[in-house]
């Protein structure tokens, strides 16, 4: 630490720190385009030229290390002249089409041209123009505007690990583009929109719809993965007016979670909130017809029905299933209603089929360390995790750790492509996943270090085991988890269970599990879980943000049970065709932008957010609907005035909770290798919940592999089919005929069924036996 002088003010600087950093820390602004604090220094725009005493020429502040006693002048005549000259050069080839540019009003070039540009240009020769490339449905290009700062290129190579964008040509001929014409396949490509200082890269779904100055900015939390990325939601329209609409979502800096980035799913999912997809008001089904009714009618109808069923049958004829992307408040109130009515049948573990030892689980599944510490791990073992798509920003951190020298290893059944170097890649089948983990445990306990994964974990000071969706939805998930805990214990590693949805942790805390009440208090009777509540059909069901045909791993059993039930009530912003078939009441509740709520992320961080726009039409926030519903059922203690009261009540309960840490213990490995085919489920990143499934631009980036059922080339040979021919899948008396695709990621004798896409809507019954045949049309 030493001091330098900037504009006569003494400023602290560290060794190796660049002048621009020191200036930023002291609040002295130096103009810049190519410099970005998260990217490497390129020093190619020269906008940051400053004068330094005893240096002949102006120097770029972003590439000049601070030296003790240095005297820097950012506003001297020499510096200003240099900056103005650079600006004049930059504007030579810029089209100056601000009026039709989406960046207009929030453009770094526009702002700096106002400070450093001349009002009249001296350049009268022809300007350069660059053809635009179509790089996909998310990012619009207007390459004539590019000023070649290479931020986008550096983001691709350094942070996201895609080398698709690059600069070709020199001098006036240089241009940014994909070398070969193709669409960008990245889960974080949207960040180049924020990075681009001009309007060369802009958002395609947002294109030309609004102006920066029309928008109000609101803080919120991203609702699609367990990280709880911080976001700003931009809305247009007067406050409290019904016309206020969400226009776009951009990242809000939070160094400990999302840094300055945001995944494409979180950025573009707002399209799913659009009015076209939504329910406008409550609906009830009368004699097979859907009627739009007012809230009192709908709620009374539902309350009477529920009361009748509970009085005529037993209270345990009621079951509720909730999406883990619901807010803490909604989940807490839902479980409270279900429990007050005398039932314990509530669950949120939509992808799970092994519920053994659930009583040994900690207060909530999560990580035993912080997200930011992933960066500095020495070894990371991914178990059944496609971290790159499941939690894209955690994936970026794993990549960062890899670049810092960490060893990244993976055990899993799908050979997902990754953007970091995999030192070990054990490609298993679902049934051999357990064996592979057992082998790691064995070599950790015996001295003979046979497994190199064990060796890496043991020899690393800081190591982490990450369990992904496959590990949690595995048919022996408890065993997988116990083995991972064992490995962690033996190698002194941390463990991270990357849960489903934005609020799985919150769902556990709120008590949306059959064996524990709110705040982890043990429930005297254990209710039915997400599987058994459908395999032992109930008379009445409540669905919270769940679309049974897509969200559940046991879709087909669930739909059968729901169809047979006397009464089904669905709380969701949307009506899916399956809802229309099986529900009796549809209560439209507000999605995350229209309700107050809280998400608890995988680290256990509680993050609350407020509604940013009024609920659409007759839609009401979920917690309010449940509160009124509780009152209509004549239950006590539903007099909350605001969402934070619900949260406070839960927080108070939590003070007395003492759930021990994870005690999941190893039970005997009862290998149950199924005969025939093994089934693998995958929820493509953009199909994880009801909002993202309706975001059009996101849906259009679904890869061809996710629009078909995947099989390995050996399987295809055995069946005698070629790629994209039809196969018939049969599982517990449901049968679908779908196109298959040969997929190198899939082990032999496995079939990968994508969920959440219309292709397999309603198909899937956990790990029940599946048969795979050639499709009929080829027979």
């Amino acid at each position: 630490m030493f001091t330098i002088e900037i504009n006569g003010k003494s400023v602290e600087a560290n060794d190796g720190q660049m002048v621009i950093d020191a200036a930023d820390a002291a609040g002295i602004y130096i103009p810049r385009f190519c410099y970005h604090k998260k990217l490497s220094v390129a020093a190619n725009c020269r906008m940051c030229l400053v004068e330094v005493e005893k240096m002949g020429k102006p120097v770029p502040a972003c590439a000049t290390p601070a030296v003790s006693g240095m005297k820097v002048f950012t506003q001297s005549q020499k510096a200003l002249d240099a900056q103005k000259a650079v600006m004049e050069f930059l504007l030579i080839n810029h089209p100056l089409d601000c009026p039709i540019c989406d960046q207009g009003g929030e453009c770094e070039l526009q702002d700096l041209a106002l400070c450093y540009g001349e009002d009249v240009g001296r350049y009268t020769e022809g300007k350069r123009a660059v053809a635009d490339e179509d790089i996909g449905p998310l990012v619009a290009t207007e390459m004539t505007r590019c000023i070649h700062c290479t931020r986008c290129v550096r983001f691709g190579t350094e942070i996201a690990g895609f080398r698709e964008l690059g600069m070709t040509g020199r001098g006036e001929k240089s241009r940014i583009g994909t070398y070969v014409k193709h669409f960008m396949q990245s889960e974080v490509s949207g960040n180049i929109i924020d990075l681009c200082p001009v309007g060369a890269l802009t958002s395609k779904p947002y294109r030309f719809t609004a102006r920066a100055w029309e928008m109000s900015q609101h803080r919120s939390i991203a609702p699609h993965d367990c990280l709880g990325s911080n976001i700003y939601v931009h809305t247009r329209g007067y406050e409290y007016s019904d016309f206020r609409e969400v226009m776009r979502v951009i990242p809000r800096e939070n160094e400990s979670i999302n840094e300055t980035w945001l995944s494409d799913r979180d950025r573009f999912s707002y399209e799913g909130l659009h009015k076209d997809h939504r329910l406008t008001g409550p609906m009830i089904r009368k004699e097979g017809k859907w009627l739009q009714v007012d809230w009192p009618t709908a709620l009374n109808f539902a309350a009477n029905k529920l009361r009748d069923i509970i009085n005529s049958k037993k209270p345990d004829q009621l079951a509720a299933i909730a999406s883990p992307s619901s807010t803490l408040e909604e989940l807490y109130l839902l479980q409270k209603i279900v429990r007050d009515l005398g039932s314990n049948n509530i669950d949120h573990r939509l992808h799970q089929s092994d519920f053994s030892q659930q009583e040994n689980a900690p207060l909530f599944p999560g990580m035993s360390t912080e997200l930011a510490s992933i960066d500095s791990m020495d070894a990371i073992l991914l178990v059944g995790s496609d971290i790159r798509r499941e939690q894209p920003l955690a994936g970026l951190r794993v990549r960062k750790a890899c670049l810092n020298g960490a060893t990244i290893m993976r055990i899993g059944s799908i050979d997902h492509d990754v953007n970091f170097k995999l030192s070990e890649n054990v490609h298993t089948t679902p049934s051999t996943l357990v064996e592979s983990l057992q082998a790691v445990v064995d070599s950790l306990t015996s001295d003979a270090n046979k497994s190199s994964i064990a060796k890496h974990l043991k020899n690393s000071e800081k190591s982490l085991i990450i369990l992904g969706d496959e590990a949690q939805s595995h048919s022996q998930a408890t065993l997988v988890r116990a083995l991972c805990l064992e490995i962690a214990k033996l190698s002194n590693a941390k463990i991270a269970i990357m849960t489903l949805g934005a609020n799985s942790a919150g769902a556990w805390i709120a008590g949306a599990v059959p064996h524990r009440k709110a705040a982890g208090e043990n429930s005297s009777a254990v209710g039915l879980n997400a599987q058994t509540m459908f395999s032992q059909p109930r008379a009445a069901y409540i669905l919270l943000n769940v679309e049974p045909e897509h969200d559940l791993i046991h879709s087909s059993t669930a739909i059968a049970a729901l169809m047979a039930a006397d009464f089904v009530m669905s709380l969701s912003p949307y009506m899916s065709p399956v809802h229309a078939d099986l529900a009796d009441v549809l209560l439209p509740i507000a999605p995350f932008t229209e309700t107050d709520g809280t998400f608890v992320n995988v680290e256990g961080k509680w993050q609350s957010f407020n509604a940013v726009s009024p609920p659409y039409g007759e839609v009401r926030p979920g917690w309010k609907v449940l509160r009124v519903f509780g009152n209509l059922l004549e239950l006590n203690g539903y007099d909350y005035i605001c969402a934070s009261e619900v949260r406070n009540e839960l927080e108070k309960l939590l003070q007395h909770s003492n759930v021990p840490t994870d005690r999941t213990s190893l039970e005997k490995n009862t290998s149950n290798k199924p005969k025939g085919f093994e089934i693998l489920y995958e929820w493509p990143a953009v199909c994880v919940d009801n909002v993202s499934r309706r975001a059009n631009a996101l849906q259009s980036i679904l890869m061809p592999l996710q629009r078909t059922v995947s099989i390995s080339s050996e399987t295809a040979k055995d069946l005698g089919i070629q790629s994209e021919q039809l196969i018939t899948l049969k599982q517990s008396d449901r049968e679908i005929t779908v196109p298959a695709r040969i997929d190198a990621r899939i082990p032999n004798t496995c079939v990968l069924v994508p969920k959440g896409v219309s292709l397999t809507s309603g198909f899937g019954d956990g790990f029940a036996e599946i048969t795979v045949q050639r499709g009929e049309s080829h027979a």
Binding site: P99, R207, F208, A210, W213, E214
Partner: protein
């Protein structure tokens, strides 16, 4: 001294005669009678009357939905919705001016980068029905088409002062 002059002036009705002098000048001068509404006095090319949207000579609408006029309008009279047209250009889907709100200040014309929104010299218009005060994009373009020659001439005449 001042007070003396003031007293003399008020006793001689000086100010009254001063005023009557103006009256007398008009009384004996040449009479001008404009047979309004059959006749009208000439108006400046900068006259700010009813609003209109102009087109290019090839028939393409000028407006590019930049929303600068909406932003600058002090009366918040302009409402614009925009989207990408099929050919990829930026266009308005809705362009409305509330004639009741508009104060004919001309700021929108100043702001427009493509001379699309303009104030015509037309001042004879009235609104009979509620709702007619909303000048839609179609109406504004139609007014523009009607006055295009005059608008172009006025702008050409004023060119050197712009």
């Amino acid at each position: 001294m001042k007070r003396l002059i003031k007293t003399v002036k008020s006793f001689t009705l000086w100010e009254l005669f001063q005023g009557l002098f103006v009256t007398g000048r008009a009384f004996f001068g040449k009479k001008i009678t404009i047979q309004y509404p059959e006749e009208e006095t000439p108006i400046s090319p900068r006259f700010r009357g009813m609003l209109a949207l102009r087109r290019y000579p090839n028939g393409e609408e000028r407006c590019i939905a930049c929303k600068l006029c909406e932003a600058v309008c002090p009366a918040a009279a302009i409402t614009i919705e925009s989207e990408e047209r099929e050919d990829g250009s930026r266009r308005t889907t809705k362009y409305e001016i509330d004639a009741f709100k508009c104060i004919n200040c001309g700021f929108c014309e100043e702001a427009c980068p493509v001379d699309s929104i303009v104030l015509t010299p037309e001042m004879h218009y009235h609104i009979e029905n509620r709702g007619d005060n909303i000048l839609t994009k179609e109406k504004l373009l139609a007014i523009g088409d009607l006055y295009e020659e005059r608008l172009a001439a006025d702008r050409a005449a004023d060119e050197k002062y712009r």
